[in-house]
Symmetry: C2
């Protein structure tokens, strides 16, 4: 299938939302849906939806709408969900444990291979059958296991160092929860979840400006 | 101070990042900074920075740059951080506990007033001196305590119901961690942290499309 190049981040960030809604339609045995109906559910305009999906190919049919199962499959594949991701979590504090316990990720194809922490009180404990290892094992582990994704849940001071170790050992994707912007070469993909940035956006909006 | 109306969400979402960097400069006793230096640190272009900050007033001085302390104070106030936010967390699972334990929020002026959960094994336990209460107490609690912010950390199925209860009882700001889009009147501000959306953006990027 032909895809346009240079798809904007705004479009890309809407894709997971399409995926979420299509999953729901699948669960509810919806076979097809018009861009108008999809628009009412998802909250984007019908024209926005057509434009977004056109970036990735020729979905939908005039007068028929979208075949839910086909579109779901296609978006899964665009999002790279037809693959498995070997994942390590570094930092087994509250956020790290929350991520490790988040069963939704299994369903999306993420395989939690290992968890690392610096705290000896945590090492040896298990979260959903995955043992928390001493952080000193991280490098060794990465050498002998092909890991695609590293989740960084350490304090801000250690985040860049952890990021460097992950990248030096072949990890290409970083999901960063530390409240700091990490530096890496361009071929490394970093996605930040800056919780306090999100909260401050909310307080801004709350103050009616 | 005069502020332009209709400031775009893109600008608003950059503000917390300015705030984060200015906090760091304050810690490191930096008194003033040029838009060029700020640009190198923060990764936005100098012209972007001037444009962003101009939305909120006349900061910075030709040839001098920005006074760090003044700009920090001003952005704190724009973000509404000169106020205190009474906060409740609904859902004391992994994410709820992680949020409750996140001490950074105290520093930003968030006061955790109560935590609620449906699980009797959790009620009565304390997180940082705040007791987890039965969710049946939520409505009553909101009636007798002025709460500004509700953090929703319940499963997707209960999220809208919890949101409705919070709003009916005067909560104006919702920080939503449930993987679902909540519906509310326009005067209610909802900020979503959709973790799986963030992760799927990363897998998209990883697949080099």
């Amino acid at each position: 299938m032909e895809r346009k190049r240079n798809i904007s981040m705004a479009v890309i960030r809407r894709l997971p939302k399409y995926y979420r809604y299509l999953s729901e339609f699948m669960k509810n045995d919806v076979d097809r849906i018009s861009s108008k109906e999809l628009s009412e559910k998802i909250g984007f305009t019908a024209s926005q939806i057509r434009q977004d999906l056109n970036c990735f190919g020729d979905f939908g049919q005039q007068g028929y709408g979208y075949n839910v199962k086909d579109l779901y499959r296609e978006i899964s594949s665009i999002l790279g969900l037809d693959q498995e991701y070997n994942t390590v979590i570094v930092g087994a504090g509250n956020i790290g444990q929350a991520i490790a316990n988040y069963t939704d990720f299994d369903k999306l194809g993420f395989k939690l291979n290992a968890i690392f922490d610096v705290n000896p009180k945590l090492t040896g404990l298990k979260i959903r059958d995955v043992e928390i290892q001493d952080i000193d094992n991280l490098q060794q582990f990465l050498k002998y296991n092909q890991v695609n994704l590293g989740v960084i849940c350490v304090p801000r001071e250690s985040a860049q160092r952890v990021c460097d170790i992950l990248i030096e050992n072949g990890v290409k994707g970083i999901w960063n929860f530390a409240p700091v912007d990490l530096h890496a070469e361009e071929d490394i993909k970093i996605e930040n979840v800056h919780l306090s940035d999100s909260l401050l956006t909310l307080t801004y909006l709350l103050n009616g400006r």
